[in-house]
């Protein structure tokens, strides 16, 4: 039971990171129907920017709490968010806008191209081997047998605040209304006086900014990053977005949390070669199969709800 609750916690924490990345996928898809493969790599850039800022502030493991550490955290968070947001806008301008009216697969391939470029830039920047950020918070609380570190709380709270802010922006502000209008019908929105190009740029700005923030948050909790992490986490986050119903913000958050929970709880499945379980279980235990199980559950859900959990069933038009 302790293990279960502990895994539940891990699931919620990684799930909130997935959800932040998934939001970027889902926003972009909602507005221009493009699977932005480069999104995960923007997240990777966010982690690299964060690490660079830490080393610029000479932060080491377990630093004494004080002004410099707070300043470094704030600067790293802002730099990662803002630089990634700008990167997102630049990518949209260079690689996607010229293809707005091209055949459907062309922007997808262009997105793959951007993803490859960012990966190699990351490789040239930080090298091939995984790099570790300084571990800043190490205070741990015990609630009965369950351990929670202060990092966990910061991660979940920050992610939650960002998601609530985004939800508020999309539902209650003028620009959010414009975004929803463009997502619904681009031409009609243009006729109503919405500057479609600017709104699409803004969507990329917000989505990529969230990915940058996710990069910062990720490094608080997880010990390493490398140039391929964007690809790996991006894939999972994209799955989360589809699971929730791509184009739907709440769906992306829900999908992220679900995938985080599934990915963590599969560790409960025992290894079949373990003598304690009498042959029950699967080879190598559930952890080795987590990706397969995540996708299997995704496929099952999509078979019964073809537009994701919260996605709208679009009627087929003739």
């Amino acid at each position: 039971m302790t293990l279960f609750i502990q895994l539940l916690l891990v699931g919620i924490i990684s799930g909130s990171v997935y959800a932040l990345i998934a939001l970027g996928y889902t926003m972009v898809y909602g507005i221009i129907e493009l699977i932005n493969f480069a999104h995960g790599d923007i997240f990777m850039m966010g982690t690299f920017i964060t690490i660079t800022i830490y080393s610029a502030f000479h932060i080491t493991d377990n630093p004494p709490f004080g002004m410099p550490i707070v300043a470094a955290l704030v600067v790293a968070f802002l730099a990662s968010t803002i630089l990634c947001a700008i990167l997102g806008v630049v990518i949209e301008r260079i690689a996607y806008r010229p293809l707005r009216n091209a055949p459907r697969l062309a922007p997808l391939i262009s997105a793959i191209g951007v993803s490859l470029i960012l990966e190699d830039v990351g490789k040239l920047w930080k090298g091939l081997s995984p790099i570790s950020p300084p571990q800043i918070f190490n205070t741990i609380y015990y609630i009965g047998p369950i351990t929670i570190s202060i990092t966990d709380i910061i991660v979940v709270v920050t992610a939650a605040v960002l998601m609530i802010a985004l939800q508020w922006m999309v539902t209650s502000t003028r620009i959010g209304r414009a975004m929803r209008a463009v997502a619904q019908d681009r031409e009609a929105a243009a006729l109503m006086g919405v500057n479609v190009d600017r709104i699409i740029s803004f969507t990329f700005l917000v989505g990529a900014g969230l990915a940058g923030a996710a990069g910062f948050i990720f490094l608080l909790k997880f010990p390493t990053t490398t140039f391929t992490i964007g690809f790996e986490l991006g894939l999972i986050a994209f799955t989360a977005a589809v699971l929730g119903g791509i184009g739907n913000l709440v769906g992306a958050m829900l999908g992220g949390l679900l995938i985080g929970l599934i990915g963590s709880l599969v560790n409960l499945i025992p290894n079949s070669s373990d003598p304690n379980v009498h042959g029950f279980g699967i080879p190598h235990g559930g952890g080795a199969w987590s990706l397969a199980i995540i996708f299997a559950i995704l496929i099952l859900i999509l078979v019964f709800r073809p537009s994701g959990l919260l996605g709208q069933q679009t009627p087929e038009k003739v």
């Binding site: 129907e33 391939i109 793959i112 191209g113 993803s115 994209f238 080879p283 073809p306 087929e316």
Partner: protein, 676 residues
């Protein structure tokens, strides 16, 4: 653009103009041939073959290879002689001499020179062409001074339909002259060169006899083959009777409704495509007839490549062939994926799964693994022979999984379908990785047997048998693709791709059609998989990732979705960028005499640890984006896609419609329009 009336007078030129035509095409063909022979190693091939016959002991190749080389040389020169005749006969004479020569220079001489300049590196030379040609296109489009080089889209001349037997005889006569003069001039140049070499003592005396025979044979062969080429050209003229356009005016008045306008636009695009097939032609080099000659040359080159390679590209044949063998299964994979994505329009992001299934199927049966996991023990020396039936079984297994994995996607559309296929692409390698008892887990399977065939020695280090195996498999795949595309099933796929609901209401069974698409696509990746594990001698679970699926998709999209030649070109382009070009750049940069060396040093000073291999994805990504921005429909778009994207302006329609053999108002018109 209106056609001036005097064009029909120019259709059959006076004698002085015939002479002009002869000069135009003889020079146009001789210059590249001479560059090939004397700048590159073209004549080394011939001389070595002849020396091999005269003095077998000193020959660098075996007898069998000698015969193959002779066959290749024969096909090569005979095709060129016939081509000379065809071109002279097929040319309408309306495109200037200079334009043709510059085109020939850019598209044949420049590649040969670039290959020579990159120390006989075929891939690198062609890659440089990939830079030079777009620059040429941009220049001639942008600079007014060079704009005369652009091929103008002139409609076929009005007199086109009126070629009677007398005019045909004139055309054949011109073709004969073309072949003869091409043969003669080439024989004379070659004789001249040989004499110089002989006098400077570099040519063995025995070869002089060959030179003499050749000098006689070339004009003679040119005469007859030129006539053959002329006859081929004449077959592409339109007959004098039939399909008159007398009721043209009444047609025009009836073209009222929107439906008919649509048809007319389609017909116009089709007419402009058909002008390519009709002779006399403004651009005979691009006409369908000339393409057949190019196809013969290409097939001969590819089939006899292992023999020609050492002469043209120097030592290291085995390594190069091995690389081309790898490129081969990428072609099969791309063609297979093209069925799913290109024909049926189902975005598949997990195609690598079926490749993995195919590779593991032969990997398990073709090694000792099957003995470990089951009581079946196949005798060791029977394993290799088992490859051939297993090739089919493997492909069928993969096809079966294609149908199985396709079944859950039937209700899904668009990107939800993509994500489910992606899911399967992720699940399958994880299963192979973790099912140790079946697949040997992380270690993969080693010691997979090569095929065996009629006493030919097969092993992982002799690439030639694999070369012919993959060539045969590619041939089979291309044939199957073309036949499938034109079949009832293929038309159902295309209908489904364009509009599922419309297809369903026209009686297409969506479930069956989709499952067939997944199954057929997987079938070919199963073939590729079996070949892959047999060639590599092992299978490892790490080689099948999402990244590979993405690469296959990029091949299809870069080449041109749904277009078979496009997809082949796309696969070869992507493969060579990925694995050949950047590696060769590193080799060049490590050579201190090369200009790339200083460039490399400069970058290493800024970014430590820089190599060209390290920025492979960077370069690949940039190329992907650039191709997508400038050619969003791919390098060679399918005919249908091209029709959709570049519709002829309406004003020209009435003019060109006349060249169709079925007019738009005929009931048979739509049956005639080919689907691709």
């Amino acid at each position: 653009m209106a056609v001036p009336m005097h064009t029909s007078n120019r259709l059959f030129l006076p004698a002085r103009d015939t002479r002009m035509l002869l000069i135009k095409w003889v020079v146009a063909l001789i210059v590249p041939l001479a560059v090939f022979n004397f700048v590159w190693q073209g004549d080394a091939l011939i001389n070595n073959v002849i020396l091999g016959f005269i003095n077998p002991a000193s020959a660098p190749v075996t007898d069998g290879q000698l015969v193959e080389a002779v066959i290749f040389i024969a096909i090569f020169y005979l095709t060129l002689l016939a081509l000379a005749g065809y071109l002279v006969a097929a040319d309408s004479g309306r495109r200037g001499v200079l334009e043709v020569w510059i085109d020939i220079l850019i598209f044949t001489v420049v590649p040969i020179l670039l290959i020579v300049a990159t120390s006989n590196n075929l891939i690198l030379g062609l890659a440089l062409c990939g830079i030079v040609w777009p620059i040429y296109f941009i220049l001639r489009r942008r600079i007014p001074f060079l704009s005369f080089l652009n091929p103008k889209s002139v409609p076929p001349p009005e007199g086109l339909r009126l070629i009677d037997s007398e005019q045909r005889a004139i055309m054949i006569g011109r073709a004969r002259a073309g072949g003869f003069w091409f043969g003669t001039s080439f024989a004379v140049i070659w004789l001249f060169v040989d004499l110089i070499f002989f006098l400077s003592g570099q040519l063995p005396t025995e070869l002089l006899v060959v030179t003499a025979i050749r000098t006689v044979l070339l004009p003679l062969g040119g005469y007859f083959l030129g006539q053959l080429g002329g006859m081929l050209a004449v077959r592409r003229t339109l007959a004098a009777n039939g399909n008159g356009n007398g009721n043209h005016a009444s047609e025009e008045s009836s073209l009222r409704s929107r439906r008919q306008k649509e048809r007319q636009i389609l017909a116009t695009s089709r007419a402009s495509e058909e002008t390519r097939a009709v002779v006399p032609n403004d651009l005979p080099l691009r006409s369908t007839g000339a393409r057949n000659f190019f196809l013969i040359l290409l097939v001969a080159f590819v089939v006899f490549y292992p023999v020609i390679d050492p002469f043209l590209f120097g030592s290291g044949t085995a390594g190069r062939l091995s690389g081309y063998n790898d490129a081969g299964y990428y072609v099969i994979l791309a063609l297979g994926l093209n069925i799913v994505v290109g024909f049926a329009g189902l975005l598949d992001l997990g195609y690598v799964a079926f490749f993995a299934i195919g590779a593991y199927a032969w990997g398990i049966v073709g090694s000792t693994q099957l003995g470990f996991i089951s009581p079946i023990h196949i005798p060791f020396n029977a394993l290799s022979g088992l490859f051939w039936p297993m090739l089919l079984v493997t492909a069928l297994i993969a096809a079966g999984w294609g149908v199985l994995l396709g079944a859950p996607t039937l209700r899904l559309r668009g990107d939800y379908l993509a994500i489910v296929t992606l899911g399967f692409g992720e699940i399958v390698p994880v299963v192979f990785l973790n099912l140790d008892t079946l697949t040997n887990g992380t270690n993969g399977i080693v010691g997979v047997h090569s095929p065996a065939f009629f006493g030919v020695f097969w092993s992982q280090i002799t690439p030639i048998p694999y070369y012919y195996l993959i060539l045969a498999l590619i041939g089979l795949t291309i044939f199957a693709n073309i036949r499938l595309r034109d079949s009832r099933l293929g038309r159902a796929w295309i209908a489904m791709r364009e509009d599922e609901i419309a297809a369903a209401s026209s009686g297409v069974n969506l479930v069956r059609t989709k499952l067939f698409a997944f199954g057929t696509g997987a079938f070919f990746s199963g073939l590729a998989g079996a070949y892959y594990s047999a060639k590599l001698g092992g299978v490892s679970p790490e080689t099948f990732g999402f990244g590979d699926s993405v690469i296959y998709l990029a091949m299809v999209v870069i080449g041109g979705i749904g277009s078979i030649p496009g997809v082949i070109v796309g696969a070869l382009t992507v493969y060579s960028i990925n694995l050949f070009i950047l590696n060769s750049l590193d080799t060049l940069a490590s050579d201190p005499t090369n200009f790339l060396h200083s460039f490399d040093q400069f970058i290493v000073n800024i970014v430590p640890g820089f190599t060209f291999g390290n920025i492979r994805n960077l370069v690949f990504g940039i190329i992907l984006i650039v191709i997508m921005i400038f050619r969003p429909a791919g390098l060679i778009p399918s005919a249908r896609r091209r029709r959709e994207l570049t519709r002829a302006p309406e004003g020209e329609a009435a003019l060109e419609l006349g060249s169709l053999d079925v007019t738009t108002t005929d009931p048979g018109f739509e049956a005639e329009v080919r689907i691709e």
